[in-house]
């Protein structure tokens, strides 16, 4: 039993996976504000992708994959909206069929040619692009879902995979609609 000046935690709700998209002014410290809000309030970040999307208006788009109870997800959105450089915040459930999610990964494969080609073949269905080729190695780019890349990186171990570099997820809605 801990003796403290605070109450004991109440019942925890069910955790859902959400993709939060934040449009921000591309200025010094803005990423630290967003990330600091997550760490400071104990929210979770599974992956993060950020880049400028409008050079003229100086807008960056941050895509964050997070998990939390509905109450926590709601707080994340409301707290983000309070930050001064934040313009808008969108929130998608991971299961949302109306949203496309993609991650990119680079695989470095080292080994004999037959192993490497086997690996390349296995990558085929994930839009594999051979970016670099030497007598000993390949660098292959794939774009896929997180769990697919997880599986690939496990399976390619025996086929000479020596290094992986991967991005966080980016997201976009299907169809002509744009999030306002």
């Amino acid at each position: 039993m801990s003796r403290s000046a605070y109450s004991t935690p109440g019942k925890k709700g069910k955790f859902d996976k959400h993709i939060i998209v934040v449009w921000v002014d591309n200025e010094a410290g803005v990423l630290a504000r967003v990330v600091g809000l997550f760490s400071g309030r104990g929210y979770n970040i599974e992956s993060l992708a950020v880049a400028e999307v409008d050079a003229k208006l100086n807008i960056s788009r941050i895509t964050i994959v997070t998990t939390g109870t509905p109450q926590v997800i709601e707080q994340i959105k409301l707290q983000l909206k309070k930050l001064v450089p934040v313009h808008k915040v969108a929130d998608f459930k991971r299961e949302d069929k109306n949203v496309i999610f993609k991650e990119m990964a680079l695989f470095k494969l080292v080994g004999n040619i037959s192993k490497r080609n086997k690996a390349l073949k296995a990558c085929k269905k994930y839009n594999a692009v051979l970016l670099d080729k030497t007598s000993k190695s390949y660098v292959v780019q794939v774009t896929a879902l997180r769990r697919e890349i997880d599986t690939m990186s496990k399976n390619l171990k025996k086929l000479g995979l020596v290094s992986i570099s991967r991005t966080g997820a980016v997201a976009m809605t299907r169809g002509a609609e744009v999030f306002k």
Binding site: M1, S2, R3, S4, A5, Y6, S7, T8, G10, K11, A28, G29, A32, R33, G36, G40, Q71, E74, Q75, L78, Q79, K81, K82, L83, V84, H87
Partner: protein, 588 residues
Amino acid sequence: MAKLSTGAEIVFKCLEDQNVEFIFGYPGGAVLPIYDELKNHSSIKHILVRHEQGAGHAAEGYARSSGKPGVVLVTSGPGATNVVTALTDAYMDSIPLVCISGQVPTHLIGTDAFQECDTTGITRPCTKHNWLVKDIKDLSKIIHEAFEVATTGRPGPVLVDIPKDIQFQKAAYTKPKKEKKLNGKHHKRFNQKDIDELIKLMSKANKPIFYTGGGVINSGPKASMLLRELVQATGFPITSTLQGLGSFPGDDNSFLGMLGMHGTYEANNAMHDCDLMINIGARFDDRITGKIDEFSPKSKKVHIDIDPSSINKNVKVDLPIVGDVQDVISSTIKTIKKTKPNFANSNKQKISKWWETIQKWREKKSLDYVNSTETIKPQYAVQRLYELTKNKDTYITTEVGQHQMWAAQHYKFDKPNRWMTSGGLGTMGYGLPAAVGVQIAHPKKLVIDIAGEASVLMTMQEMSTAVQYNLPIKIFILNNEYMGMVRQWQELLHDKNYSESYTAALPDFVKLAEAYGCVGIRATNPSELDDKIIEMLNTDRPVIFDCLVDKQENCFPMIPSGKPHNQMLLGPKDQEQNKITGKGKTLV
């Protein structure tokens, strides 16, 4: 071509255009150009503190008692880190502060230069927003925006970090622009439908209660006037959080006293048993709700707040109304007048049973204590102080601990902006510098810091500031030689193991007062207390009042952890029958 001004000049032009009269600050290497410029701006007076934390709290006291933003000026490095506690305090209690800090010259940033620190990095989580000025052309715009952000929406602290070279460089000054969109974060989203829904709930309720907080004070004095009108128009009982005290008269019959951990029996029971809770500008803080799972289980909850992120953060509510308290109450009253002009009377019958129940709780007299003729009881000291000052439009600040709760329980406020206390962060050492700031804003008024001897030692150096500017603040110390609230918890939860909560080598506060050049008064027994208080009130200089009180007194009532909200621990007599045991210990 427009006339060019130096960065330091631009700082003062901004402050002038923002109608700033006082700056609380402390000079140092990285702000010297700004200090050099001070002499050319006679409308702005600088108050020299003795520690930057004191500057921050003084600015908070100034802001809370005047409704205007407080302005702080500090140097880089330790100047900035010393003000962090005050910024965090202001952030927790939603107080508008604009802090200007010096920074090492831009070419030295990142080199671990002398008195360099990552000020914007350190203050990011304790400000609404902060800026590092990298281009002199941005300076005026940034300072004006800083005032805008600090004072709009839910108020709070902001910081502008200005490197020394920027203070020397020149640019054209630009006046503040009235922005249509108030930094995009100002929400006034409620509509008439929300108000109609609220009134529907109100007319259905049998056991309603208003639960009001600091948001009413922050909304301005008019909000407090409207709140009184609303209570009158409905006949509903009202309770207030620590921060909301003064928005409704403390001696009015509709007022149930403060709620929460050390709130009254009637307020907490009414919160627990009500069927309609109308939260106006409060935030369901954990000191109010106790155990969330058992908080007011049978009520419909309405939450009126300007900050959308306050809603559903701790407690799920049935009707959220996002807006400025003043606007929401005003619309509500208008609608009641239009649609139910006789609301209070027609409703009287319906809620009369509720008032009878409340009356029964009231008869418990939960704030009572066993008085003594030998030693001064701290509650008695606060009561006497109240009786002797209640006709003087007194401003009260406090430190943090038992004395703070006794002040909240026994000093009754009837106006907003008269009560300055650190509620959210609970900063010991807040009250003395805050009193300095209050007295600056109200030079002719009586300003008293109800203090504990442990808290007040944390910022005691600011007595020197009070003496320098002839600020006749009264430091009323309830001296029990213990960190009283720590000792109380150790007594109740840690088997009376008073680990490190006794201060063995306290200074002689009377001599200390004399050393600072102010007046020291000591009261040692109840029979002399009134005379000594009157002596203090008649002294037109700063006073340290050393009131020697009962060392063992505990602060009751108290929500005894682990038990439901409606079973409070009352005074010493009741305590025997309600020992805190087992699981309850974790919850205090």
